[in-house]
């Protein structure tokens, strides 16, 4: 008995220990473990490319894409009949400049910047430690730093006082910097790295357009806004940077304003910095302007399959600022709507869909904006056949040549005490001529006032994420407009998101929040 106990005991023990190959390592099949990648140039490039995938979040409605659009005087998202678009008051709050650190767009915008910054830091760290060497490596370093500078440029504009992090291996919580410090950092980064970049886009680098022209464009904006952001005037520097863009070979104004915004706008000679999207190649962070703005019946006008949401519209006064002969007025869809075949689009048996340049109210549950209140945006061409959850293939334009002309003109005027000279007038008239096709609408030194320049910037760059920066620089951001009261200087910075303050006790909220 005892013997057999021992015998079987040993047997069981040996059985158990044989199986107790007590290894519990996880086998990964469908992802890549991070320490096992980026071993050659191609893999390094898939790493760098993440920056550009991140940039596509620039149009995200619950983040970056709303911060420069929804609170301006060029766009409104009203509460519409049949309970549409209330969304817990988000769009109303943005319109009325009742910015709150808990609004989803704040954390979305912050993440756009700082996910991008952290990503750049990691890529730089990996590049430095990569045993792989190839000729373009120094240029890639510069490119990643310029991309990081772009994310900081947006953070500086929106949130101002943000932390500066450059070292991926530093795991301590970063300290807050002042807006002026961030400005100095970004300008320093650009000037230090610009020389290593390509001059202008080519087929090789289209889509990763951190070029000299892009960097100079960013620089000219930083200088143009330096009075607000840094507390010093830098108009000569702004002019010099804009001149550097203008002098870059290959850039010119497109003959057709709208050619810059078509689904195949990668051929544009005017676009300097774009965020490329593609119908099938860029799922995830997609461009859906058609969904934002069109009523779903407009499917039949543009041959869309995708369901559209009937939300964003142009503001009445903004639309009215266009002359009827201004070709750019065709950025907007207005009036009774018809299918591509010419049949009227009927909301029901008696009511034709008619986009009217009037909005009943921003928010009035009993007399809400009608389904077809407000003019709709169609500056970017809508490609027929777009399906649900498909991106437009149009590349989103961040900087274009016209921007350099206008920036230079504005810097000249500001340097000149807010008064135009002939150089400024000539620069603006280049842009204006294209809009009308003749010189009868050209500005003169007398007619090109600062107010007129702001209006012209609005018309030229409608919904190009210019307007907030421009309104603040022209001192108009805090003036009242339709369904919005006058604001204070504190409204010129967005609040740091609550989630960000919660996790980093070094950070303090911006004044007024």
């Amino acid at each position: 008995m005892k013997k057999s106990i021992i015998k079987y005991g040993i047997l069981l023990f040996s059985l158990a220990t044989t199986f107790s190959c007590t290894k519990l390592d996880e086998e990964v099949y469908s992802s890549v473990a991070a320490d096992n990648f980026f071993r050659n140039e191609a893999e390094v490039m898939t790493n760098v490319g993440r920056i550009y995938a991140q940039m596509r979040k620039i149009t995200s409605r619950f983040g970056a894409g709303s911060l420069d659009l929804v609170g301006t005087d060029e766009c409104i998202i009203p509460f519409r009949e049949t309970n549409l678009w209330y969304d817990n008051g988000l769009w109303i709050a943005l319109h009325q400049h009742k910015f709150d650190p808990n609004l989803s767009v704040m954390s979305g915008g912050y993440s756009f910047c700082f996910d991008g910054i952290s990503m750049c830091n990691q890529i730089l760290y990996q590049l430095e430690n990569s045993p792989v060497d190839f000729p373009t490596k120094p240029k890639i370093f510069a490119e990643v730093k310029i991309a990081r500078a772009f994310f900081y440029y947006r953070a500086l504009d929106w949130f101002g006082n943000v932390p500066i992090s450059t070292d991926f291996t530093d795991v301590t919580l970063p300290q807050q910097s002042t807006r002026a410090q961030v400005w100095d950092f970004v300008v320093g980064e650009i000037t230090a790295n610009i020389a290593a970049l390509d001059d202008a886009p080519s087929t090789n680098n289209y889509g990763r357009t951190c070029t000299k022209a892009m960097a100079n464009m960013m620089l000219s904006k930083l200088y143009l806004n330096a009075e607000k952001w840094r507390g010093v005037s830098k108009y000569d520097e702004a002019i010099a940077a804009a001149d550097a863009v203008i002098a870059t070979p290959g850039y010119q104004l497109s003959d057709d304003y709208f050619a810059n915004f078509t689904p195949t706008n990668e051929g544009s000679k005017e676009n300097i910095f774009v965020v490329p999207y593609d119908k099938t190649k860029t799922p995830g962070n997609i461009l859906q302007i058609h969904c934002w703005t069109l009523h779903t019946l407009s499917q039949q006008t543009f041959g869309l399959i995708a369901f559209t949401w009937d939300g964003y519209a142009g503001m009445e006064d903004f639309y009215n600022s266009y002359a009827s002969t201004d070709k750019r007025i065709n950025s907007w869809l207005v009036g009774p709507q018809y299918s591509a075949g010419g049949a009227p689009l009927m909301l029901n048996s008696t009511r034709q869909l008619t986009y009217r340049n009037h909005i009943n109210a921003l928010y009035n549950p009993t007399a809400p904006a009608l389904l077809d209140d407000g003019v709709r945006f169609k500056k970017y061409g809508y490609e027929s056949g777009l399906k649900d959850n498909e991106s437009m293939s149009n590349d989103w334009v961040v900087f274009r040549y016209a921007d350099a002309l206008m920036t230079k003109a504005e810097a000249i005027m500001r340097k000149n005490g807010g008064i135009a000279n002939q150089t400024a007038v000539d620069l603006v008239n280049q842009v204006r001529f294209r809009a009308f096709g003749d010189h009868t609408h050209d500005y003169t030194i007398a007619t090109l006032t600062m107010d007129e320049l702001l209006a012209e910037l609005g018309r030229e760059f409608a919904w190009e994420y210019h307007r907030r920066q421009d309104l603040i620089r022209f001192g108009k951001w805090n003036t009242p407009w339709f369904e919005k009261a006058a604001g204070t200087v504190n409204d010129e910075l967005y609040p740091l998101p609550t989630a960000v303050l919660n996790v980093n006790p070094n950070l303090h909220q911006n004044p007024g929040y």
């Binding site: 106990i5 015998k7 069981l12 059985l15 158990a16 044989t18 199986f19 107790s20 007590t22 290894k23 519990l24 996880e26 086998e27 990964v28 099949y29 469908s30 473990a33 991070a34 320490d35 990648f37 893999e43 490039m45 898939t46 790493n47 490319g49 993440r50 550009y52 995938a53 991140q54 009949e81 049949t82 309970n83 209330y86 993440s111 700082f114 996910d115 952290s118 830091n121 919580l173 970063p174 090789n204 289209y206 889509g207 593609d278 119908k279 099938t280 190649k281 860029t282 962070n285 779903t296 995708a306 009927m346 029901n348 048996s349 549950p365 389904l371 649900d388 498909e390 919660n502 996790v503």
Partner: protein, 983 residues
Amino acid sequence: MIILQNLKLLRQLKTLCLIGCLTMLLPAISMAQTAVSGTLTDANGKPVPDVTISRKGGSALGTTDAKGHYNVVVKTGETLVFSSTGYQTKEIVYSGQNPLNDQLVVSFNKMDEVVVVGYGTATKKEVTSAITSLKPSDFNKGSIGNPVQLLQGRVSGLNIARPGGGDVNGSFDIQLRGLTTLSGGQGPLFVIDGVLGGDLNSVSTDEIESIDVLKDGSAAAIYGTRGTNGVIIITTKKGRAGQHGLEFATYTSIQQVAKKLRNLNAAEFRQAIHDHYPGRESEFDGGASTDWFKEITQTPLDQYYDMAMTGGAENFNYRAAVNYREAQGIVQDNRNRRMQAKIAATQKEFNNKLTINYNLMYAETRRDYTDQEVLQQAFRRNPTEPVYDSTNKLAGGYYRNTGPFQYYNPVAMIKEEVNQGKQQTFTGSARLTYAVAKGWNVSAFGSLIRDQYKNTLYQSRYYPIGIGNNGTAIIGTGQTNSKLMELSSDYRKKFGRHDIQAIAGYSYQYGTNETFGATNAGFDVDIYQYNNIGAGNALSLGQASMSSYKESNTLIAFFGRVIYNFDEKYLAQVSLRHEGSSRFGANHKWGDFPAVSLGWRIKKENFLAGVNWLSDLKLRAGFGVTGNQDIGNYRSLQLLAVGGRFYYNGQWLNTYPPASNPNPDLRWEKKEEYNIGTDFGFLNGRLSGSIDYYVRNTKDLLWTYTVPVPPNLYNSLYTNVGTIRNSGIEVTLNATPVKTRDLTWNTSLLYSRNRNKLVSFSDNDAGFKLTDLKQGYIGADVQTWTHQIVEGGALGNFVALVFNGIDTAGYPIYVDQNKDGKIDESDRRIVGNAYPKFQMSFSNSFTYKNFDLAFNLRASYGNDVLNIHRLYYENFGYLGGKNILLSALDNPNYKGKAEYSSRFVEDASYIKLDNLSIGYTPNLKTKVIKKLRVYATGQQLITITGYKGVDPEVGLAGLSPGIDAYNYYPRTRTYTLGLNVTF
């Protein structure tokens, strides 16, 4: 590799056994054996079926049939033991009687009933932890597709809800003793015939012998990292010695709508338009009168056929069963067809020293899925619109109106979509048990579960969402495998008044999951459906998609347990599981899960010996540690996923962004549970019951914390921080108030209450800080959260503006709690809680002569439900393009919009008559049929509730429990007629 090694070793083991046993076999062959038969009856002369006749201290020899008759082979001088549930066990020394007829005496005492405790069994009197054991007579009756439905209202502390309502493909939320996790799995571990993580879909409800629910930590700790949410052990029927027969069962049932959402009919709609939009009547009038609900529903018919055959002798028995069930839902395209088959066999060799069990189960299910949005669309569809419009060629002849937002013809949604799934599940297991010496067994167990599915969907060119796609086909397939290998040795010995049983073992489980999916669109014709997915032109346009995925995980454990009692008076149990899971971080792969529990049967003490009315009294106390590893694979690693593409050198290239931060410290959520309880019986067990009180603390709760970026790479980290506490009381009372020759009445009453509290979820030192968690998202047009969890607060709280009536202008008034003159989120307060304050159920069964009757009432008190349909549709905001609730007309001047407030958080306390069943078992003259029973059952017959929505019983899983489903499914009553025959 491991399996091969295993087989080799098993073979060696077998050879060793052979040599060892052959020598012991020899002396056993000589003595004379006699065939004996007889009939067992009760005191009233009624035959007693299912009595096990066994040799004292040995194996079962036979079983009585429906007429109380048995045949066994015995030797003169042997002691036979007659045992059966509900009767006192009787021993008779065989001295040549033939026939050997006898009478059994009724017993109410359940203390000798066998309870499955996981890796073994014990009698109820030995148990020292909270375990509920149910036999088929305790199960719910009627048309039941899933074994968990058998348990609803039958186990105190176990909450079973069906969030998908009457959807025949819907799943169940199962919650035991409250929510123990924020982000881990919330379901219990199922152990089916020893297979850990067994598949419920392959278990036929007619084949279940018993279900045992291990509720407290001291019972569940033997299952280690999977024990936190409780363990449900299902044991299926096996062949039994001397029982030979054929069983046939069938039923058919229909469903009837008990409650649906009441919207405006065409006449009411026209009137409402006239009242609210005078002058715009024609704008909203489609010229027809359509009952959209009727257009998409049917009267569902279920049918079920089951055949089982069984037989056996002392050394070999088997049971085979096959069944087919077809269930239809109230929505036209909703159907579930399932075939289940099983074979179980047991053979004994080497003088009964080696026992071999085989158990094979197979299930094949075909599902026709219903898109529950169809019901929502039918609800909000303008009732004046027609179903069809033969002039609309684009929409395939269906009436189409693209004016209102997300508004689709529900009839077209049903008819122009085929959405089907096929699933095949195989479970096979084998167990070898060798009796090394008296009381000592060694055992090897292996099992394999293979689950394969294929889901297929085709939306024709006329499917109303995305017209212009020209047909969309989607195919998704997957396969999961789970292999389990367990070695164990158990030992039991009684010496003097000491009784000890012990088990030690090793467990290895490896699971994989693989999926594949493809979509395509743009088909020339609709006739292929999904059977020629390559034919669509979206593939060549780069608009089709393809995906595949694979994952695997491993669980390894060593476990041991000792159960001891002294004179059946002082009881103790100690167990430990040392377990590791591949899912945890490199620094925490392994954990220890100990448990200890003690019992004191006071009734056995001398001072209670004379108290005859008290038949049993036991006190129990236990403590156990369990874990929850149901968190998904690879959560501790830093992975790079294929990210968005970027444009480079004229091509779109993939990028590899980080998908997660690494966390080498990731470990299991650890639950520590204290349980004290008492089991008692009065009047010889005629009234019995138990009371339990528990406190369960789940520590190291896993949650995804926002972390600063930089320095982190990814903005969140999945890590162990918080603590949840649940505490509660469970009471079970069983009684047999009447037991006469003709009439028996059994009744049971259950009560349970649970309180929970989120003790903490911040660790400021480590930088994981949460002020609160806002959960429960109401989407379209409202976009807000519904629940808020704060430290020190309860889970399941609805936090909303407090509604204080409607002002004269027609707008809602909300209480300005902080008196700051404006109404915003800071004015929200706790306005309800989704979890019930207590739950009860009351079940009864009667037999009178040949008739039997059973019913079950179930009640819940204090549970609040957010009535999402009133929130959206009890106002006039949607009226016009869409339909609204009839109840909106109660406040005709209301001008508010769809808003979340206390107004729509309703007390949803309820009492339900869950089940009412009447059966008749005639006395048959024929010898062919041993037993026949016909019955009629009604399920969910009556619901008494103040809740204004469809059903007060809504999903309670997750962190935002108690929100009624926006895409709802109507509540139905089910009526079943059935027949059971035993040949």
